[in-house]
């Protein structure tokens, strides 16, 4: 394996390095406690309620693939080489709302508001990934299948999911993100150690075999990468 290096990822228009967090520090702990980005909420802490939903970006060929994950059960090494987006990132201008957010307001789709950032991220990922037309109801249901609302109810949220497409389109500039991800792709594989724990993200089967030989007691985290598939 290569020498130790920090976990590196794209977040808030720049590359971040984390070199002092334990390997099981979650993305949500990083956001709320380290960065004080408290838009993402902790509800259940077990990947069920979706209040912590964030979006990860990865290279897919020449493009960018976005997908939602539960920040409460993702460990920081899973961010290595990726882009992280939270509810604070979706508005394109300060003081303005993203169409998905504006539609949530217009349709009365937020009441206590605790689940709202998660719903916004799920709808935002769909808005960005599917730019060739409005999703149908079943596609919206699938997109928000990981978000629980316990006071507003889902009808106005479904209405907001449609209404967002009636507002002027607003898509973020992908080029800086793509440039950052291409830069991250040139890094050696992650070999990370902090606070008495270690983690690695091998890039080849032989590196993985070597890591398992070196650390026979290590826990294999079988997490996914959306974009390498096909």
């Amino acid at each position: 394996m290569s020498t130790t290096r920090p976990i590196q990822f794209y977040f808030r228009n720049k590359l971040w390095q984390v070199d002092d967090a334990p390997v099981t520090r979650t993305v949500l702990q990083f956001l709320r406690e380290d960065v004080r980005a408290t838009g993402s909420k902790e509800g259940c802490g077990e990947g069920d309620c979706g209040a912590c939903t964030v979006v990860l970006g990865e290279l897919q060929g020449d493009g960018l693939r976005l997908h939602t994950v539960n920040a409460c059960i993702q460990f920081l090494p899973a961010l290595d080489g990726k882009a992280l987006f939270t509810v604070e990132d979706v508005a394109l201008r300060a003081g303005a709302l993203h169409p998905v957010q504006q539609a949530m307001v217009d349709c009365g789709a937020s009441q206590c508001g605790f689940c709202t950032p998660g719903f916004v991220m799920s709808l935002w990922a769909q808005y960005e990934n599917q730019q060739d037309g409005q999703p149908d109801r079943e596609q919206v249901a699938e997109a928000i299948s990981g978000n629980l609302c316990r006071c507003t109810g889902y009808r106005p949220i479904f209405a907001a999911a449609s209404a967002a497409y009636s507002l002027p389109p607003a898509h973020f500039d992908r080029q800086p993100v793509l440039a950052a991800l291409r830069q991250l792709a040139t890094l050696p594989s992650l070999n990370y150690a902090a606070q008495g724990t270690a983690s690695c993200v091998p890039r080849t089967l032989s590196e993985l075999g070597e890591a398992l030989r070196q650390w026979p007691a290590a826990r294999l985290v079988q997490d996914a990468r959306m974009s390498g598939c096909g």
């Binding site: 979650t26 990947g47 979706g50 993702q74 993985l208 079988q222 996914a224």
Partner: protein, 289 residues
């Protein structure tokens, strides 16, 4: 073996940390290895790398096997399907992992890798006991090989859970039948989750079907054999009696949807109005919650 290196989806491991406050020690993440991320359609099998997300795996599986559609939708929420993997679901070996009954019934084989050596194992032989698998120290699941459909086969998989998505199954079932040129059942693979300490084939139930025509009589004989295969537990999700009854009813549902003498055969799924199916107390294991 100290803390074992058995693979597990981060959607499970995450909870060991967030809920059980477990120190899981050092970690090796699999999402960086391209060889584990590929989906390949071979002549006779669909190969799915162990780090392919559940979402991507289902997007490859459902066009080939539409019978997976409902399970794929109900398996978990979208963020969990984005982060979790089919390889992790299989390798973690939970007795109520939703993919394994279907994968076992379809005859899936795993390719395991230790150092530079690889070996294949049938998925049904992978599970030894409660959360114990055939993985040796340092060995990991590299890929799944699902045999492609063959003419005449009948296959269904069903998930019973209280919520539509994001719920753990009370019972998960999968049925696979192949008939010979005389129309007699030549292969039967029936597997359940939630009925035993591991995802498990219903051998007695299968035996009751072999050599018979796939009709109501055969289905009822198979239902009667089920209690010989399983002695399910009662827990927060379902009572033992519910599980035993539901398992038999799912088998009858499979008959109702696929057999020539069945009222719903040939109808699109979900449109069948077959009415309540009566199961004898004996077929249901005699236990009623």
């Amino acid at each position: 073996m100290a803390r074992c290196a058995a693979g597990a989806g981060c959607t499970d491991v995450g909870l060991w940390v967030s809920k059980q406050l477990r120190d899981i020690g050092d970690t090796i993440h699999l999402h960086g290895v391209p060889e584990l991320q590929s989906i390949t359609r071979h002549a006779h099998a669909l190969e799915i790398g162990a780090a392919v997300s559940l979402q991507a795996a289902f997007e490859a599986i459902v066009p080939i096997w539409p019978q997976w559609q409902e399970l794929a939708r109900r398996f978990a929420s979208r963020p969990v399907k984005n982060a979790g993997t089919l390889g992790g679901n299989v390798a973690n070996g939970s007795p109520i992992g939703d993919s394994m009954p279907a994968l076992i019934a379809m005859g899936t084989r795993l390719r395991l890798r230790l150092g530079d050596e690889e070996r294949d194992i049938a998925l049904e032989d992978f599970y030894l006991a409660y959360q114990r698998t055939a993985l040796r120290a340092g060995e990991f699941v590299r890929a799944l090989h699902i045999p492609l459909p063959t003419p005449g086969e009948l296959f269904r998989t069903y998930k019973l859970a209280k919520r539509f998505e994001q719920d753990i199954s009370a019972v998960c079932a999968a049925f696979y039948l192949q008939t010979d040129s005389q129309g007699l059942i030549s292969t039967a693979r029936i597997a359940f989750g939630g009925m035993a300490a591991i995802p498990k084939r219903a051998v007695q139930c299968e035996t009751a079907l072999l050599g018979r025509r796939w009709d109501r009589t055969a289905a009822e004989a198979a239902v009667l054999a089920l209690p010989a295969d399983f002695q399910p537990l009662s827990d927060a999700r379902a009572s033992a009696g519910y599980r035993q009854t539901a398992a038999g009813n799912l088998l009858l549902r499979f008959w109702a949807e696929t057999a020539a003498d069945a009222p719903a055969a040939g109808l699109p799924r979900g449109l069948a109005e077959i009415g309540p199916i009566q199961v004898s107390a004996q077929a249901a294991g005699g236990a009623q919650p």
